[in-house]
């Protein structure tokens, strides 16, 4: 089945130690998103790629970066994780220009713990 895959599902890192979360998709969608979801809160959009075009939210900290080397993969890099960055990170995809336009499909998330 076509899907959005996130690895790892659980990630533990140390304060200040760079960490990379990955997302891959078999849906062939041209838009990929990264959200941060803290406990009992709504997901908050960090940034998204429309094809190769990177769109950063104005309030996304510089500590967060993203890479999309090809259509299928997208990475979230946290350069110097702080305790406040502990959260669930959700990847989502959507396809612009089809009948299912704008519906976002989510991966299972990566839960990040910062020690």
């Amino acid at each position: 089945d076509a899907m959005v895959i996130q690895n790892p599902r659980y990630q533990v890192t140390q304060f200040g130690k760079p960490v990379t979360l990955s997302c891959s998709q078999t849906l062939n969608h041209n838009v990929m998103y990264w959200y941060q979801q803290k406990s009992s809160q709504a997901p908050k959009l960090l940034f998204h790629y429309y094809d190769k075009d990177f769109n950063n939210e104005a309030d996304t900290p510089d500590n967060f970066q993203s890479r999309r080397p090809n259509t299928s993969f997208c990475f979230l890099d946290i350069r110097s994780p702080g305790l406040g960055d502990a959260a669930m990170y959700l990847c989502a995809t959507s396809s612009a220009g089809t009948g299912d336009t704008d519906t976002q499909y989510f991966g299972p998330g990566t839960r990040l713990t910062v020690l």
């Binding site: 838009v31 709504a42 908050k44 704008d102 976002q104 989510f106 998330g109």
Partner: protein, 113 residues
Amino acid sequence: AQTVTQSQPEMSVQEAETVTLSCTYDTSESNYYLFWYKQPPSRQMILVIRQEAYKQQNATENRFSVNFQKAAKSFSLKISDSQLGDTAMYFCAFMKSNNDMRFGAGTRLTVKP
């Protein structure tokens, strides 16, 4: 900026009964999309139902239906014949045509046997 408000942090319903979750939003846009997503405990966020703002007819998906009132900027979700598996966090979401989606704070729904 668009805001999405879910005024019910928690709700409960008896199995087989009907429950309605509320959502209001604020926007100056005329063309947009509205969604209800379900996030079961420790599980993946999945789409429940979507509505295009230009469509007057309310969307329906099996036991799930919406009451979309564009003038009032209201988008409520009705769940009929509630099942134990409907227990989850429900998020209302608004998206403009630029793929920028905003979520409400969520409503935690518990279906009781």
